[in-house]
């Protein structure tokens, strides 16, 4: 006999097999999901879910695709949160302390309540990465926010109206473009290819018969 659990989607009661995730339990209940379902493997952030367990006061924050149902779970999903997208041009900005003030001034309104960290579906130290952003330490902010999937629950809970996922993304783009050293060998190779340095060798390779290519492939040396 399959073990079942009592759960409540948007307040409505369903009995579902207890080994399902919130997402598959909704489908078991008969929902055809359009919103609130993306990659189904915890990478895209489409399925933010907030739940409270019967008898508890504290809400829990999760991704519906990554969380097993529990007895007495009251679930609301958050398929979308209106984050504050800004039209900055990555070519024109620099990783200065002022840039955060210009693009996302609301980070300086952080009251330190830690609601963002408490509500992170990925268990990130969200308030910490906002603190790094405030003081212009973009590289630290980038690494601390790297696992963010932008489900937006933190922003829904924030009394200072911060769009945390976008702050982390700006810090990461500044880090990737300006703070980390550029890959000179990659640029050099791209320039060599553009200058035609590989054209003759590539043409020779493409002129080979299938048998010749196969011979080369089967006997190629593999780097250890």
């Amino acid at each position: 006999m399959q073990e079942m659990a009592n759960v409540y989607f948007d307040g409505k009661h369903y009995v579902v097999p207890s080994d399902l995730t919130i997402m598959t339990a909704m489908e078991y209940a008969g929902y055809t999901l359009v919103r609130g379902c993306g990659c189904r493997h915890g990478f895209c952030g489409a399925c933010g879910a907030i739940y409270r367990l019967k008898g508890e006061t504290k809400p829990h924050f999760s991704l519906a695709c990554q969380t097993k149902v529990e007895e007495g779970m009251y679930v609301a999903t958050l398929p979308f949160f209106p984050l504050n997208n800004k039209n900055y041009n990555i070519e024109e900005i620099k990783p200065t302390e002022q840039i955060m003030m210009e693009i996302f001034p609301e980070v300086y309104g952080c009251v330190g309540c830690n609601s963002c960290t408490k509500s992170c579906s990925r268990g990130l130290a969200t308030m910490q990465y906002i603190a790094y952003a405030k003081r212009g330490d973009y590289e630290k902010c980038a690494h601390a926010s790297f696992d963010c999937v932008a489900c937006g629950i933190c922003s829904a809970r924030c009394p200072a109206n911060i769009s945390h996922p976008l702050v982390g993304l700006l810090a990461r783009r500044l880090t990737g473009k300006y703070i980390m050293n550029p890959a000179e060998h990659t640029a050099q190779r791209a320039a060599d290819i553009a200058a035609g340095k590989f054209d003759a060798d590539m043409a020779a390779m493409m002129a080979k018969s299938k048998e010749e290519i196969k011979e080369l492939y089967d006997n190629r040396e593999i780097e250890k």
């Binding site: 995730t21 919103r35 993306g38 990659c39 895209c44 696992d147 990737g176 290819i193 590989f198 493409m206």
Partner: protein, 550 residues
């Protein structure tokens, strides 16, 4: 900080699994000193013939109509191609135009975003339509990395050789040339947009080995490579003010009277409203088909991977290439059941984990190509009888603790944070215990045929980008070549579509090709599939009225 979210006092593994795990632990020390033998070309061929789903007839059906008539495809895809259009019988007013643009991009994944950015840079008006949210795509879920030959011991020719051999020499040479020659340029472009690659302090790229790669050519962003690239591209699309219409699928192409692509019929997924988009050129960036579950396999793909672009383009007259070849990723998650099918990135094997049977034996070299490794797992769990029992079948071990033993403590936490988090959610610490895997439907190797400018030659003004293209990867793709193709052919499709749009005067749109295709279905007297295609989303909702209706 990553900690288990579900704390279980008891082990998450069954007693039989624990028994098998002891055998694995007993052989680990010896296995650390040796490398499993690589198979010869003949051994690989025999293994594939016997065990890879592509190489049999089971699960395939013949395509009866259209440009590929007489060829085989997975029976689920054949059914889509034999189905009526979603707009069959509807009398849509094509003059009531909801959107007008230069370049219409269908699909909001990595290649759609790359195409949009380039078309916008080239001065075109651009519209992206996507049936879920912008960014929801297989690109977002690509974990392992992106290939490009940018090291001294490597070259575009070496990359070409690996891709051709991996694809069993069926790849279209001019597409592979484009892929490998644009590799370094693509990484440079992504770096310029702010993608955080794994680098050494001096800025040089860290590169990793991979299945079928003769050089360490895999570039990564921890195990979030696709997510990191896709979220940066999505941000760039937002920043450039490109118009995006979310939750809106394309269901048919519009052609003008000369047979040129001229827009699409759209469908609002939330309200059911049909909309007309007219465009000078169209980029099909609709991605893969994992949610069709060919051959009954679970999938690593996102919710919307249902081959929509193949269906629309085929009805309009494009031919498909290698539509019968599917990539099964060797290491989909087999256990726990909540993660069934979820990707365990190949990078796990690239940094040292071996594939192990129930007796603790390494039965295949961990870096064989994906089709070979997947076939070896299928053999081990079927005729060899050496799989580990899981609730819904059998799996094999992936010996993840080897990674920290080989590379030093902390390697898993820094190189594979996504994987660690995924298993830790279910109380499995992959640093301490191995994980169970089984092949999972990962990639549609085939797709719509294009030339080296990403254009379909059958339908003028129609371009294709990303996984919807067939021919780049032959009959088996190497890891890291899809993220590269997303960038190379995404950008190229955007550039080609924008250049082409400059000389296009949009003609009156028609849907006569859809009517004509349906008359072919009727003349061929095909069995009614009971569906309209494209299906847009898989049917996962339980039929709650089973047993209630007489």
């Amino acid at each position: 900080m990553i900690k288990p979210m579900v704390m279980t006092k008891e082990s998450p593994f069954t007693p039989a699994m624990m028994e098998s795990m002891k055998k694995l632990e007993a052989t680990r020390e010896a296995r650390l000193q040796t490398e499993p033998r690589r198979m010869t070309a003949d051994e690989k061929r025999a293994l594939l013939d016997e065990y890879h789903p592509d190489y049999g007839d089971k699960g395939f059906a013949k395509i009866e109509i259209g440009p590929n008539a007489g060829e085989k495809a997975p029976k689920e895809l054949t059914a889509l191609l034999h189905s009526k259009s979603r707009i069959s019988g509807l009398d849509l007013d094509l003059d009531k135009v909801d959107f007008e643009t230069d370049v219409l991009i269908i699909g909001g994944g990595g290649s759609g975003a790359a195409a949009a950015i380039e078309a916008k840079v080239a001065g075109s008006d651009v519209l992206i339509v996507t049936k879920l949210r912008m960014g929801d795509s297989n690109s977002m879920m690509a974990e392992g990395g992106i290939q490009a030959s940018d090291k001294d011991n490597d070259s575009p020719m070496q990359h070409y050789l690996d891709a051709m051999g991996g694809g069993h020499y069926y790849n279209k040479p001019e597409l592979v040339r484009r892929l490998v020659m644009d590799g370094a340029k693509s990484l440079e472009w992504l770096e310029g947009l702010g993608v955080m690659f794994d680098k050494h302090p001096d800025g040089s790229m860290q590169t990793f080995p991979g299945g079928g790669l003769s050089r360490k050519r895999l570039h990564a962003c921890a195990d979030y490579t696709g997510a990191e690239i896709t979220r940066v591209l999505r941000d760039q699309v937002h920043n450039m003010g490109i118009e995006i219409v979310d939750y809106t699928a394309a269901v048919e192409l519009l052609l003008d009277k000369e047979g040129n692509a001229a827009g699409a019929v759209l469908y609002n997924m939330l309200t059911g409203e049909y909309l007309i988009a007219r465009a000078k050129t169209v980029v099909m960036a609709t991605g893969g088909a994992g949610r069709m579950h060919y051959h009954g396999f679970p999938t690593t793909n996102h919710y919307g991977a249902t081959a929509d672009g193949l269906v629309m383009a085929y009805r309009a007259g494009c031919n498909l290439l290698y539509q019968d070849t599917i990539q099964y990723h060797p290491t989909g998650t087999a256990y726990p059941i909540q993660l069934f099918g979820a990707l365990v990135t190949e990078k796990v094997r690239a940094v040292g984990a071996q594939l192990i049977n129930t007796n603790g034996e390494a039965f295949v070299h961990p870096l064989e190509t994906r089709d070979v490794a997947a076939s070896a797992i299928i053999r081990e769990t079927s005729t060899h009888g050496l799989g580990v029992d899981i609730p819904n079948g059998r799996g094999v071990w992936l010996d993840t603790p080897m990674i920290d033993i080989i590379n030093g403590d902390g390697k898993i936490a820094t190189a594979l944070p996504g994987m660690l988090r995924m298993f830790m959610n279910y109380g499995i610490d992959m640093r301490k215990t191995p994980v169970l895997v089984y092949p999972s439907f990962h990639y549609q190797n085939g797709g719509i045929e294009v030339n080296a400018e990403a254009a379909t030659e059958k339908i003028p003004n129609l371009f294709v980008a990303g996984e919807a293209i067939g021919g780049i990867h032959g009959r088996n793709r190497l890891l890291g070549n899809s993220m590269l193709d997303v960038i190379v052919f995404g950008r190229l499709a955007g550039q080609s579509a924008a250049a082409c749009a400059k000389n296009v005067k949009v003609g009156a749109p028609t849907l006569s090709h859809v009517k004509e295709y349906e008359s072919q279905i009727e003349s061929a007297k095909l069995e009614d599939t009971g569906e309209a295609s494209p299906i847009l989303l898989p049917k996962y909702a339980r039929d709650v009225n089973v047993g209630k209706l007489k």
